[in-house]
């Protein structure tokens, strides 16, 4: 009888201990796995943030270099061309030759101005994003390739800071280039809106339609798309491409806390 009680006690404590241990192991696995996953996600976020910062730094350096080159072109070559023009005026040349050289200098000056402006649009610095986008759409319109219209539903001089304005301008520039190159569109509408506390920038075209997948966005070849994404992230916004039916594409850029940027 005493043996039986001893066995029952061993069984009771043994079973209780084993069950507790098993439960402890299961709870530990669940809790530890959660912590491990959270830590890993944190590390991934940090890695992504570092990548984004690196991309930002590259873009910033590129902009700085473009600005320097634009200034160099404007001040250096522009001034040199003006000096050359003055020298030619004082030269004893046949009138026709003088005119021909003068025309060539004018053409070169216009090219230098155009390149300098593309590298760093002075209108953006002087008058802000709205004026720069208006000018950009006007230039496309004047080139008579595509009917390009620009609309906005607000009047503000400086909605974004200089860096955010430049980022948005570059994004629009890149998207318009893509439309001109690939979309076979005849019409483009650029629209800036302030709606329900959000800044919305939409670019619509009537071309063949384009909707990049996540895979397209991460392809090493699609540097333009990556740059666009990075610049939009830089200003704390989101971008969405949507194919329209029967044809065309709409690109929606949305910035929620636009006042911060």
């Amino acid at each position: 009888m005493g043996g039986s009680t001893e066995i029952e006690l061993t069984l009771l404590f043994g079973t209780a201990a084993m069950l507790t241990l098993a439960l402890f192991i299961i709870i530990f696995v669940v809790a530890y796995q959660r912590r491990l996953y959270a830590k890993q996600r944190e590390m991934n976020d940090m890695e992504m943030k570092a990548q984004l910062e690196l991309m930002d730094a590259v873009l910033l350096a590129k902009e700085k270099e473009q600005k320097r080159m634009a200034q160099e072109l404007h001040d250096g070559i522009g001034s040199a061309l003006t000096a050359l023009k003055m020298s030619i005026i004082q030269m004893n040349l046949v009138h026709d030759h003088k005119k021909q050289i003068d025309d060539n200098i004018k053409a070169i000056s216009a090219d230098v101005r155009r390149i300098s402006n593309e590298l760093m649009p002075s209108v953006l610095e002087d008058m802000g994003l709205q004026a720069a986008l208006e000018r950009l759409s006007q230039r496309i319109q004047d080139a008579a390739i595509i009917d390009c219209k620009y609309y906005r539903n607000y009047e503000l001089d400086s909605l974004h800071n200089d860096q955010a304005q430049l980022a948005l301008y570059r994004v629009v520039q890149e998207i318009l280039n893509n439309i001109i190159k690939y979309a076979k569109a005849t019409e483009i509408i650029i629209k800036e809106e302030l709606k329900e506390g959000k800044y919305l920038l939409t670019i619509t075209d009537n071309g063949t339609g384009f909707e990049p997948s996540e895979e397209d966005m991460s392809k090493s070849g699609s540097l333009g798309l990556k740059n666009i994404k990075s610049r939009i992230q830089q200003v704390g916004g989101t971008i969405e491409y949507r194919k329209l039916s029967p044809k065309g594409t709409i690109v929606n850029i949305e910035i929620r806390d636009y006042e911060k940027h």
Partner: protein, 207 residues
Amino acid sequence: MNLDDISALSILIPLISAVILYRRLNKTLKLLGVFILFSAITESLAAIYFEYGWNNMIISHLYAFVQVPLLAWIFSTFINGVKKRVIFILCGAYLLFSILNVILWEDLLEFNSNQRYFAAVVIISYCLFYYTQIFVEANIVRIELEPNFWISSSILLYTAGTLFLFIYNNELMNSTNQGYWNLNCILNIILNIGLTGSLWVGARKLN
């Protein structure tokens, strides 16, 4: 209907689930379905033997002999590297021991306590191998949606909880205390619910 009957019938829940979900299951869960079917057949056979007053210990030997290789096969489908080899080595050692056990210590008409004890140690090791793999690989997002975790946890809980019961089975045969057998029934129900969970979670994950 008493707790014994409920426990015995609870095997039908994962069995029916396995039949319904069979086409949507991966290799691991299909094997688990086979394991559940095998358990249901041996349990039914044991009940029939008992009903006719025959000694059903041979069924217990058969169950324990097939159970570990089947579980080794199941665990080897999701455990990688050296641990996978260890799974089969442990299984081989277990089978060898089972044969020696029948010849030397517990024949087919006696309860196989030694074999059950060895089986429990081997099965608990498999579960622990899986848990260590989770930490090493660290690629699971939500562990509660992981069918292999459901399989390992329900098997671990049942095996650990019944280990002492099987060791002292012969001594308990004459005991009037029903509490231990009720505990076995409860753990068996939990095991079957856990296995059912793994099947549904697995089927949902694969779809």
